[in-house]
Symmetry: C2
Subunit: 229 residues, 2 copies
DNA sequence: GCGTGATAATTAAACGGACGGTTAATTCAA
DNA sequence: TTGAATTAACCGTCCGTTTAATTATCACGC
C-alpha cells in the first residue's frame, strides 16, 4: 500500500482512512458470519485491532457500520454488473452469459458478500425490511432487476430465449448463481473437500452457466417449431 | 394468530402439549424473523402467551428450543420428500418433477421454513456449523442429497436427462426452489403486490417446474420415455 | 527551528439497559 | 396430599454506547 504523500492530512497517530477501512473490513466478516444482531462490536474492534470506541467515532453506531458494510458490497456489484447490462453491442445470449459470469465472479471474489446480503434480505420485521436494506434495494436492486428484465425480453423477442416469464426466470437465475455460496457452510458437511477451493468454484461456475443456458436459451431455431404440450 | 386458548384455566394443568406446541410455534416465527441470536426469549413467550420460564421448563434453554424448531421443519420436509424419492414406480422425469412440486409445496405451506433453515446454514462460526445444524444435516440433509443424486444419475443413464454433473444440478435445483421464498421480503420492494399470495405462489411454482425441466431434461427429438426403469 | 496551543485520532473505563436464565412460590387435577 | 404446570420477580452478565482523558500532529507566531 503506497503511502500517499499528500494525503497526510491531519490528526494524530496512524492513518485515519486506514483505520476506517480496517473497521469496515472486520465488520464485513463479522456481520456475514454472525448476522446483524449476532455481530459483536467488541469482536469487530478486536478483529480490526482498534479500540471499540473508534467504531462510534467513524460510524455513528452499529447500524451505521452495518449500512456502510452493505453499501460497500452492493456498490461493487452494481458497478461491475451494470456496465455489462448497459452495453448495446452484444446479443442477448452473450450478454446474459457475461452477466452471469460477472455476478458469479464478483461473489466468488468476495466470499463474505452473499451471506451478508442474504441475511439482510431475509430479515423482515413484521412486514417491511429494515430502512437500510430498503434504501439499498431501491438504489441497487431495482435497476438491476429492471435491466435484467429488459435483457430477457430482448432475448425472447429475438428468439434467442425461450418464452419464459422474465421476472420469474431472473429469480431462478439469481438463485442458481447465489445459492451455492450461501450454503457453503452446509456443503462442507454434505460433500467432502473444500467448497471454496478454486477448482470447486470453477466447477460450480461452469455448472451455473450450463444450467442457466439450458434453462433459458431456445434450443436452436429449427427445433422450437415443434409444438409444446 | 395468537390463539389464546383461554378455555382452560391457566394455573397448573392447562394442556402441557398445547403449551409446548404454542411455544414451539412462536419460536419458529421469531427465529425465522430475527435469527438465532436476534430472537428474544421474552418475545417468544409473549407470542406464545405463556410465561417465559416455561421455555426453560419444556426446552432446556434457548438453544434447545432452537434445535427443536429446526427439527420440526426438517422432519416434516424429510417425511414428505423421501417418500417420493424412495418410490420405484416412476420414471426419472416424473419423479423429479413430483419431488420439486412436493418440496416447493412444503415450503409454500410453511412460509417460516426457508428463512429459518437458510439462516442456520449460513452461520458457520469460524469453519464449522453449529452442532445443532450439523446433526440436522447429517440426519436429514445427506440422505436427501444422496437420493437426489441417485435420481439424477438414473435420469442421465436412461437418457431422460442431459448429461449434467448430478451434484451441481441438485444445488441449482434447490436454489431455484428455495430462492424465491428466502427473498420474499426483498421482493416486496422489487415488485408490486404480495409475493405470498396464492396466485403469486402458483405462478412461481409453474416457473420453477418449467425452469428446472428445461435445464435438466434432454431435449431429444426422441422422447424415449419408456415409463418404468 | 521552537515552543505553544488547537485539533484530530485513539484509548481506557464505565454506564445502563437488555436479555438469557433461575428460583421460589402458587395453582389445580388426580 | 402430591406433584406437574405455571407464574412473578429477580439476578448476573453481556454488550452497545458514552465520556473523559491522552497522544500525536499541524499551524503559526516568534
Amino acid at each position: 500500500m503506497p503511502v500517499l504523500a499528500k494525503s497526510r492530512r491531519s490528526g494524530s497517530r496512524g492513518e485515519p482512512e486506514k483505520t476506517r477501512a480496517a473497521i469496515l473490513s472486520a465488520a464485513l466478516e463479522e456481520f456475514a458470519q454472525e448476522g446483524d444482531s449476532g455481530a459483536r462490536t467488541d469482536e469487530i474492534a478486536r478483529r480490526a485491532g482498534v479500540n471499540k470506541a473508534l467504531i462510534y467515532y467513524y460510524f455513528k453506531d452499529k447500524e451505521g457500520l452495518y449500512a456502510a458494510a452493505l453499501e460497500q458490497v452492493f456498490s461493487g456489484l452494481h458497478e461491475r454488473v451494470m456496465s455489462i447490462l448497459n452495453r448495446t453491442d452484444m446479443a442477448p445470449r452473450e450478454k446474459l452469459l457475461l452477466y452471469v459470469q460477472t455476478h458469479f465472479d464478483y461473489i466468488a471474489s468476495q466470499p463474505v458478500y452473499p451471506r451478508l446480503v442474504q441475511r439482510e434480505f431475509m430479515r423482515n420485521a413484521g412486514r417491511t425490511l429494515s430502512p437500510v436494506a430498503n434504501r439499498i434495494l431501491e438504489h441497487y436492486g431495482k435497476p438491476l432487476y429492471q435491466k435484467l428484465e429488459e435483457l430477457v425480453r430482448d432475448g425472447i423477442r429475438s428468439g434467442a430465449f425461450r418464452k419464459v416469464d422474465p421476472v420469474q426466470s431472473i429469480t431462478s437465475i439469481l438463485g442458481t448463481i447465489i445459492f451455492y455460496f450461501i450454503t457453503i457452510p452446509a456443503q462442507q458437511i454434505m460433500r467432502t473437500g473444500d467448497p471454496t477451493s478454486p477448482e470447486r468454484i470453477a466447477e460450480r461456475r461452469a455448472a451455473v452457466l450450463d444450467f442457466v443456458s439450458s434453462a433459458l436459451f431456445a434450443t436452436d431455431d429449427a427445433v422450437n417449431q415443434k409444438g409444446k404440450s
